[in-house]
């Protein structure tokens, strides 16, 4: 397989790079303040970036997964948190893209060009194991009544439309799960605690409280009992996107290190003259390129309708591990400057750590991969 970007993709990447560079400092500011950067959100809306995967008939970009991954990678090179904002939105949009009926599409798709979507599966007792979900959705004749507490919903506090997973049949484990399109205005919906987290701090995880939250039957996504399938189909398609952010983070860290190394010193010798540094840089470049190809491959498989759970898991696991390793090495080359807040590399590493855990920890990815190997 070889990836050759077409002119349209190249132009898009160039445009996105300009934006990403412009918001890089602002991105670092919100890492400190933990304020959701509505100004960055607005820039993404105005440039139709949020709408890239929305079908053209709904005035979206109609872009393929590969192109979306390229965009996330490019933004993450300069502004990982901002890239995470977009990926969180697309994660929220993906189950709807896959499972909305025509009327749901009419109602929601146009909104996602300028309103945030989110995805809410996790609960305190249900992290890796979605079967542990206890949020219940009871059918009450006209509506579903949702009760429970969801946690770690990426930017759930600022999203307007959230895909919430709840049990319509508590006795059936993951087979009793259903997916619901929940709007933040629905009575009984509220935002709880907003997490003070290690990285991606401008787009934090939020707790969502559902207390007699009434969801109309038109907002059931897919069929009752289909929730687990919806979640898994979604994650197969979004894991390459986290992987793309990771490649961007790693590339950004390498770029920054190369630039810094030109003027840095190690024991009174120019840094770039040190073979130890040269070899570290080589190792960083090797793993980044390998991760990138895995991301492009897994995204292309989705675009060719050959979605591979295994490839998506491999891309997510390898690329996020790569981002951690590369940012770690970058700090080691920069030394004391590497852990200083004057440089973005320490933030890159904190952002990368989050990606090793969200959307399935890398232990879960290994479980998925080994299961597919063992058949």
């Amino acid at each position: 397989m070889s990836i050759r970007l077409d002119e349209k993709q190249k132009n898009l990447i160039e445009k996105v790079r300009g934006i990403a560079q412009k918001i890089a400092l602002r991105n670092r500011e919100v890492d400190e303040t933990m304020e959701f950067p509505w100004d960055i959100f607005k820039i993404f809306c105005e440039n139709n970036i949020l709408a890239l995967p929305i079908p053209e008939e709904f005035k979206g970009g109609g872009e393929a997964n590969l192109t979306c991954c390229l965009v996330l990678e490019e933004i993450a090179r300069f502004s990982p948190g901002s890239s995470h904002m977009i990926a969180g939105h697309w994660l929220g949009f993906t189950p709807l893209k896959l499972f909305c009926n025509p009327s749901q599409k009419e109602r929601y798709f146009p909104r996602f060009r300028s309103e945030l979507a989110a995805f809410s599966l996790t609960e305190p007792a249900a992290g890796s194991d979605a079967g542990g979900i206890i949020t219940e959705a009871k059918w009450e004749g006209e509506n579903y009544n949702l009760n429970g507490t969801k946690i770690y919903c990426t930017q759930g506090h600022v999203a307007n439309v959230i895909t919430v997973f709840a049990k319509t049949n508590p006795d059936k484990g993951v087979k009793g799960l259903s997916a619901f399109i929940v709007e933040k205005e629905f009575p009984g919906f509220s935002v709880g605690k907003i997490e003070d987290q290690i990285g991606m701090r401008g787009t934090p995880a939020a707790e969502l409280v559902l207390q007699d939250c009434h969801v109309p039957k038109e907002n059931l996504l897919g069929k009752e009992g289909e929730g687990f399938n919806i979640a898994m189909q979604t994650l197969d398609r979004t894991r390459p996107k986290d992987a793309a952010i990771s490649v961007g983070i790693a590339q950004g860290a390498l770029d920054y290190t190369l630039n810094y190394a030109k003027t840095g010193f190690l024991m009174k010798e120019p840094l770039l003259k040190s073979q130890a540094v040269q070899f570290l840089l080589a190792d960083m470049a090797i793993t980044i390129e390998a991760a990138r190809l895995l991301v492009y491959e897994s995204a292309t498989l989705i675009d060719e309708d050959r979605v591979s759970t295994k490839h998506s898991a491999m891309a997510k696991c390898f690329a996020t591990d790569t981002a951690m390793r590369v940012t770690n090495q970058a700090i080691d080359i920069l030394g004391t400057e590497g852990v200083s807040k004057e440089h973005p590399v320490e933030m890159f590493m904190r952002d990368a750590k989050l990606l090793q855990i969200l959307e399935g920890t890398n232990q879960i990815q290994r479980l998925i991969i080994s299961r597919s190997l063992l058949g």
Partner: protein, 377 residues
């Protein structure tokens, strides 16, 4: 060869553990980190109980133990809380130089107040590598024949805003007359500039300190003894070993948290410690931490008995221990999953602290270069 702590050492370890368990509260640590504030009341209590200055002779307010016992205390402190532990263990980094190279009067004057909780001693390592002109940083004081003047210099100083005693180290002193100077914070010409904002270690502030024509009287001058190790070397050795002890404690603490979580957290109908994927992570970390402890203790022992392998073994301990601390904290976050990422749990802070001490001062690239040099020379 003996591989067991003495009864006294076990008592010290136990006392340090109990003190840390009682005094280091994780909510307090979170607050201290947010405000970048040193826990002065805890420092004072640690002084009263003899943990600070444990390695000074009794006549200077200490307990007459060695760096080894100091390492045991640091390990227990950072094991309970990385941030508070580091800040306390860095509160007397200037003292090791005075202890080893100072004269009787200097020891009395500068060490006793530290053990009483009245002073913090630190080190200013003047960076001359980027200096454009070759004007000497230190010259003789024309007005006072035995005194000196620090003309101009800048350094990043741990506890810079709090320290009362500052030992100034630099490489551009007159090589024919090697000296080290001790400054007091309230002297004219000793000024604090900005705070260095870092990823971690935010309970121990690092400030930029500027020296502008600071006059240093005779009794604040440390005259190097001929043939003996110089103060800069002493500082490097002690700082490496203390850093490795901090790292050891952080690794052990992060590991403790990981084991506790793995034994409590249930997913897929069983405790996550029942999964072999988690078990093997724990087994590897345990192995690394045991190896680290042996190395760190060995390095501290080498310092106390003035072993000739001091230079290399201190680098080896520092390199290995800080790498293990970073790896252990990263893996501990991973075992915790989502909660490991959140500030209200201590693990993410332990990771940031581990990564910061790993890269503060002499980095591991430098340690490797030094180790390699000693192997092939």
């Amino acid at each position: 060869m003996q591989f067991e702590l003495t009864d006294t050492q076990k008592d010290i370890q136990k006392a340090a553990r109990e003190f840390a368990e009682k005094e280091f509260d994780s909510d307090l640590a979170l607050e201290l980190e947010k405000e970048e504030r040193f826990p002065k009341p805890i420092f004072e209590k640690a002084c009263q109980l003899g943990f600070i200055g444990i390695d000074y002779p009794e006549q200077y307010g200490g307990q007459s133990f060695g760096l080894f016992e100091n390492v045991l205390v640091i390990e227990e402190f950072t094991r309970k809380d990385s941030g508070i532990g580091i800040s306390l263990s860095l509160a007397d980094i200037g003292s090791s130089i005075i202890l080893k190279h100072g004269d009787e009067g200097q020891k009395k004057k500068f060490l006793i107040p530290v053990t009483q909780g009245k002073a913090i001693s630190t080190v200013a390592l003047i960076d001359s590598s980027h200096k454009k002109n070759q004007d000497p940083i230190v010259t003789k004081d024309e007005a006072h024949p035995d005194g000196y003047v620090i003309n101009r210099g800048k350094a990043w100083v741990i506890h810079g805003s709090l320290a009362r005693t500052i030992v100034v180290l630099g490489e551009s002193y007159d090589p024919t007359n090697p000296i080290t100077l001790i400054l007091e914070r309230d002297w004219g010409g000793v000024n604090i500039l900005g705070l260095k904002k870092m990823m971690g270690m935010r309970i121990s502030s690092v400030h930029e300190m500027v020296f502008d024509h600071v006059k240093v009287p005779k009794d604040h001058v440390i005259q190097w003894d001929n043939g003996g190790a110089n103060p800069l070397t002493t500082y490097r050795h002690v700082h490496r070993i203390k850093t490795s002890a901090q790292a050891l404690g952080i690794a052990q603490g992060a590991f403790d948290h990981a084991v506790k979580h793995a034994k409590e957290r249930e997913q897929f109908g069983r405790k996550i410690c029942q999964f072999q994927g988690i078990q093997f992570m724990l087994a590897e970390l345990y192995t690394l931490i045991e190896a680290t402890r042996s190395l760190v203790y060995r390095a501290a022992y080498s310092y106390d008995v003035k072993s000739s392998d001091m230079e290399t073994i201190s680098s080896v301990a520092r390199l290995f221990a800080t790498d293990v601390a970073v790896r252990t904290t990263i893996d501990s976050i991973q075992i915790h999953g989502g909660v490991g990422l959140m500030k209200e749990y201590s693990i993410e802070r332990m990771f940031r602290d581990a990564k910061t001490i790993q890269n503060l001062g002499e980095t591991n690239l430098i340690q490797k270069a030094l180790i390699a040099k000693s192997i092939i020379s």
